[in-house]
């Protein structure tokens, strides 16, 4: 499904790039169809960077990202954008994921509009209503601004937005670390339910090993930019 081969990313700082931090150090990672791979590690171990590289939101210095047989590192902007509809990110902090000046409806509709997937306003509305119910929100939430929703409700809206384009692969970057435990349980259950229904592959980034054990088919442990252990 998606594969990272020999991925390396170095961040340089200082005037002459004298200080270098190796965020991801020649990592190989493979996520199969409908599989959930959990990536655990401390903050600063490079797990978020790796997740973003697989989505090509960060360009790796070395290595290749292969999605469905296509090498993403060789693609040009336009082609990449087309493939990106199949890949989505669920970020850690839902409050930062939405434009605070936009209503939830517009934020969820944006991907449809960018990729011109709805022919009419009515069709767009239909798609969004269906999604919003699938993630457990009500129609009234669509007319609100992000600050008027609780953390759990916002994360549901983020999931709805990620699902608008029928993705095949999602990176969930600590999707519940800002949420309460009982909300965490319902959000994680929701994600797992969609996986079964829609056949999505997940890279589930977390620092909670207990949570990883429940969610994942395989667990990768990352430390200092390297994958140091695997457990299935």
């Amino acid at each position: 499904m998606i594969e990272g081969i020999g991925i390396r990313k170095v961040y340089k700082s200082g005037i002459f790039g004298g200080k270098a931090v190796v965020a991801v150090d020649r990592v190989d990672i493979r996520i199969g169809e409908c599989e959930t791979v959990a990536l655990v590690g401390e903050s600063g171990s490079g797990k978020s960077t790796l997740g973003r590289i697989l989505l090509m939101l960060i360009k790796p210095d070395e290595g290749r990202v292969v999605f469905d047989g296509i090498d993403l590192t060789k693609l040009k902007g336009k082609e990449l954008r087309r493939i990106r509809t199949k890949m989505q990110l669920i970020p850690q902090n839902p409050e930062e994921a939405f434009d605070p000046r936009w209503k939830i409806y517009d934020s969820i509709a944006e991907p449809l509009r960018i990729h011109k997937l709805a022919d009419s306003r009515k069709e767009e509305e239909g798609v969004i209503l269906e999604l919003i119910k699938a993630v457990g929100l009500k129609e009234e939430h669509l007319d609100r601004y992000p600050h008027e929703l609780s953390g759990g409700e916002l994360q549901r809206a983020v999931i709805a937005r990620a699902l608008t384009l029928n993705p095949k692969f999602m990176v969930c970057d600590e999707p519940t670390s800002m949420l309460d435990i009982s909300t965490q349980a319902s959000i994680v259950r929701l994600l797992m339910e969609f996986q079964k229904k829609l056949g999505i592959s997940y890279l589930f980034i977390t620092h909670d090993l207990e949570l990883a054990k429940v969610v994942a088919d395989r667990i990768l442990v990352m430390k200092n930019g390297k994958i140091v252990a695997e457990q299935s």
Binding site: E42, S43, S150, G151, G152, E153, D180, I181, S182, T183, Q184, A185, S186, V188, R189, H207, D208, L209, E210, L211, K213, V214
Partner: protein, 308 residues
Amino acid sequence: MLEIEDLKVYFRTNAGIVKAVDDVSFEVRKGENFTIIGESGSGKSVLAQAILRLLPKNAEICGRIIFNGKDLLKLSEKEMRRIRGKEIAWIPQSQTSLNPVLNVGFQCAEPLMEHFRMDKKSAFARIIRIFEFLGIGGNRIREYPHQFSGGMRQRVLVAMGISADPKLIIADEPTKGLDASKRSQIVELFRKIGDKTMLIITHDINFAENLADRIAVMYCGKIVEVSPAKEFFREPLHPYSRGLLDSLPSRGLKPIKGFQPSMINPPKGCRFRERCEFAREICKDEPPLISLNGRFVRCWLYDRGNWD
């Protein structure tokens, strides 16, 4: 040591009255670690801030907060100042609570200079000792908050809290925003200062399990259960407590159905009733606080007179 009786904290807003804390009573005994758990929006942080009278002016507080025989709600602001930091210390959440333009040493030494009239030199010397005790490293005393990682910043806040040797420490979500390994370090840290009387507010249940002597569960402005920690984790009494524990990944990751009700218009009677699998007709009446082998629970299930 600290007794809270019938405490109510209401906020008047345009949308109506928010009953953030509604008729809460409990006591914190000398030397124990009393932990309040609950989800965000349950009113637990407001409760802690009410004790130190740190709430904004639009908060209406009534009831009694008795600390060492004095009712804190009756004290003047000046008298309250002598209690904050010296008698009762506040350890806030780590992210935003340090002043970015002052070095950490000064911020920790300030209560010493303020309350004990210590000079700067001896106050700093004492802070260096506390820093070393907490594993920060005394040489970092002149550094600024941005030079510290999240876990270290939390240690600095703990240092600030215990610097004046307070009788009671109130900590608000000490593990928020930290990853798992840092959390266990903070647990160790709190163990180190474990002989102090502490009131801890958290939604991190693992943290509570590791440290607490007694647990109180707060839901929607009410305390629904108070139990000794061991018994609580073996057998929670209130259906909400049970739901909370069952939603832990290690205990099955089972979500509680439904959503938290609005605080402006909470359901009448038991506030958990709409999400509760045991809800019956009687739950529409306010459940009494029932005492059960030294534990307290606010639920009709335990009221023998009402069993069918």
